[in-house]
């Protein structure tokens, strides 16, 4: 099963390799990982998407909690959360398909972040479904390059209930 785990860690060198090492040391893959500073510059937040059966994931979260530099581990999978990913896609554009490409971008509310005589680069943000749908539609036009941030995620606030 797919799990989305967020971790807050000390913003120090070496922390990323400790976290990554726990996964690689047990022989399983991180699908995506994103890291960034929080409001407190001494703390970073990681969002990790990984796959594994419940026992493995339980072991990994326990092992993550044991790391001295890890402050908090939350497996969001069984909770209600929002996740987003951003991609930058460079697409070959010709006179013939230009209009069609721009239309697709518009539907997905993408931004044009770079233009050249033969290419467009779009920025698309969304959840996994949106990102995958966009890639699927745009692929036939000739994707030159694609760069994905990996997911970031946050718990939904339930106070209003």
């Amino acid at each position: 099963m797919r799990h989305t785990i967020t971790i807050t860690v000390e913003n120090k060198f070496g922390v990323l390799s400790r976290v990554a090492g726990l996964f690689s040391g047990r022989g399983f893959n991180i699908e995506s990982l994103s890291v960034g500073e929080t409001l407190d510059p001494t703390i970073s937040r990681m969002t990790i998407v990984t796959r594994g059966d419940d026992r493995i994931i339980e072991q990994v979260t326990k092992q993550l909690r044991k790391l001295v530099d890890v402050i908090k581990v939350t497996d969001l999978t069984d909770s209600s959360f929002v996740d987003r990913e951003m991609i930058l896609v460079k697409i070959s554009a010709t006179e013939k398909n230009k209009a069609e490409i721009l239309r697709i971008n518009e539907i997905f509310r993408g931004k044009i972040v770079d233009v050249s005589p033969t290419t467009y680069t779009f920025e698309i943000t969304g959840d996994e479904g949106k990102i995958e749908a966009f890639i699927k539609l745009i692929k036939p036009f000739g994707v030159k390059e694609i760069s994905r941030t990996g997911k970031v995620a946050i718990l939904r606030e339930m106070n209003g209930e």
Binding site: G21, G25, Q59, R65, K66, V68, I71
Partner: protein
């Protein structure tokens, strides 16, 4: 004036480090110098701090480990950059697997050269990442007191383990102020010590329901100093107790409720009791594969209570029904406190079960051929157990020697057996014995060795000779890598591939060459006198005890079998024909 005061308050990183170690109460460092550590060794010299020069860095790490296991304090070792640091690796991994509080310092090339493949550079933080509890790369002299303080705290609290501190040369040479924080504050590290009261109550209700309970106690009991609490708990509930290898000594070996060790070379009684039980109370243990055998067949009708300080140990290898996360001693104390009911009541309830348990003990006690004219290793261990005082510290190497000690030596006190259980490191026992002897100069310390293992750190004879510390080494010499040979005998048709040590040195002469007393025992009749002579000698001794070459360790649970499926010896007929083939 201002100026002068500022200057006097500035210390070198090396001096700061020595002071930080002194403030942690470090009595002795085991180590080996080198280029990048020159400043540290100079500061150490000037401060008059105790340092033991081992003859190999691996031995320094094991000595720090032995010191820590024997005393319960943090052991400290030190090695230079590159090869010095990589030589520590086996020792650090050994300490990691067995949860031993060790702080290992490594020299490092100057900060600005890190990553440039400088002379004697090794990324020791990276290399040791999976085998340490935590590690630090020091970046300035001023932060050394905080790092050292944190490292000692992390190494010794929660589930203990090794911490590495990497010291670039410029950090040792640079200047800074000594400032040690008042207390350790690490937001990501707050080990849970108290067991959840609700879970503790559930343990008691499991005990109430159980008809065939057994306590399976591991190294955690020894580490947390819960020996007394465990005895009280077992006696109160009349529950029999089996120990893991690292648990031995955590429960008195001569107690009527004691079943001996369990697992691959455990007693028939312990393994049958576990197999037939309906409740296993695991305390400070981790269901290692040497204990469970085939997990699917392990204790088929048992519910499992697991008390451990490390949440990640719970439900790792087998499913646990009632977990209690907390310090073992505290949890046992609480259990003893809140449990009502008298021992007498339990005696009545348990009598049927305890009768069965007793019968298993009588049916198949540990045994060997006592009539043999050869020196049986089991006999040597029994004699040693008889002759050495109760508080003697016994270390082992790895292999048959280790298992015979576990089976035949009666450990009655915690922290008297030091053995590499998790990693199974040959070469551990002798340096660990040195470490223990430095912690307790007056106690008897004996390394029970194999002729293979002892040669992995035999150079340490120079260290014991230099300090004239009275470590005794008893080599159970079978001119074989015995444990591997035993597997070849049983499962590979006695093809003794690369296990015959036919050109062993004369160990008595080796000892003498180092200025250490050597004793040879080649006849059964000499065993007692030889051991007595060794124990009575005030300095170090090597005893070369020439045992029956093909003796095996039994019982044995073959790999993949259930713990109730033990074998008790080699197939006699097959064995004889093979002996002929060898000759």
């Amino acid at each position: 004036m201002q100026q002068i005061r500022r200057v006097t308050m500035q210390m070198s990183g090396a001096e700061i480090l020595v002071k930080a170690l002194q403030e942690e109460g470090v009595e002795v460092i085991f180590g080996y110098p080198g280029g990048v550590l020159l400043d540290f060794y100079d500061a150490l010299f000037r401060a008059g701090m105790r340092h033991i020069l081992t003859r190999h860095e691996q031995a320094a790490a094991h000595a720090a480990d032995g010191y820590a296991r024997a005393s319960g304090k943090v052991g400290v070792c030190m090695a230079t950059s590159g090869p010095g640091a990589t030589n520590l690796v086996t020792g650090i991994a050994t300490a990691h697997m067995d949860s031993v509080p060790v702080v290992a310092f490594t020299g490092q090339v100057p900060s600005h050269m890190i990553g440039g493949d400088a002379f004697q550079e090794a990324d020791i933080i990276g290399i040791t990442r999976p085998i340490t509890k935590h590690s630090y790369l020091a970046t300035s002299p001023g932060e050394l007191p905080k790092i050292v303080q944190e490292a000692f705290h992390i190494a010794s609290t929660g589930r203990p383990g090794p911490v590495v501190i990497d010291l670039p040369k410029d950090v040792l040479q640079g200047k800074g102020k000594y400032h040690r924080p008042d207390k350790v504050e690490i937001r990501g590290y707050k080990p849970k010590t108290e067991g959840h009261p609700g879970q503790i109550k559930r343990v008691l209700s499991e005990i109430m329901k159980a008809k065939r309970p057994v306590i399976y106690a591991g190294g955690g009991v020894v580490i947390s100093g819960a020996g007394g609490e465990l005895v009280a708990f077992a006696e109160k509930n009349m529950i029999p107790v089996t120990n893991t290898l690292l648990g031995l000594g955590g429960f008195p070996g001569n107690h009527p409720l004691f079943l001996g060790m369990l697992g691959m070379h455990g007693t028939y009684q312990a393994n049958m009791t576990i197999h037939e039980s309906d409740l296993i109370i695991a305390i400070g243990a981790r269901f290692d594969d040497r204990v469970t055998g085939a997990v699917a067949k392990f204790a088929p009708s048992a519910r499992v209570v697991h008390i451990d300080v490390d949440p990640s140990a719970i439900s790792k290898n087998i499913v646990v029904h009632v977990p209690v996360v907390g310090d073992v001693r505290g949890v046992l104390k609480e259990l003893n406190k809140i449990q009502k009911g008298e021992k007498a009541v339990w005696k009545e309830i348990r009598s049927k079960w305890l009768d069965r348990v007793r019968a298993w003990g009588e049916e198949r006690p540990l045994s060997y051929d006592r009539k043999s004219s050869l020196i049986k290793p089991q006999y040597v261990i029994e004699k040693l157990s008889e002759l050495a005082p109760d508080d003697a510290i016994i270390t082992t190497e790895v292999g048959q020697n280790q298992m015979w000690v576990a089976q035949y030596y009666k450990f009655v006190k915690p922290r008297t057996l030091l053995s590499s259980g998790g990693l199974g490191t040959m070469g551990y026992g002798f340096p660990a014995a040195m470490g223990a002897q430095f912690a307790f100069p007056k106690r008897v310390v004996v390394d029970v060795a194999g002729d293979g293992s002892i040669q992995m750190n035999i150079q340490e004879l120079a260290t014991v000779a230099q300090h004239n510390i009275p470590v005794k080494i008893v080599i159970l010499n079978n001119c074989f890598l015995g444990m591997v040979r035993q597997w070849q005998e049983l499962f590979y048709d006695a093809r003794y591939s690369q296990t015959c040590l036919s050109s062993n040195p004369d160990f008595v002469k080796v000892a003498e060459a180092y200025g250490v007393k050597g004793i040879r025992i080649s006849d059964k009749a000499e065993v007692e006198a030889g051991l007595k002579e060794a124990l009575a000698h005030p300095g170090p001794v090597v005893v070369d005890c020439q045992i029956d070459r093909e003796e095996g360790v039994y019982p044995m649970v073959p790999a993949g079998a259930a713990s109730s499926e033990m074998i008790f010896g080699p197939d006699r007929k097959k064995k004889e024909s093979k002996l002929k083939a060898v000759k």
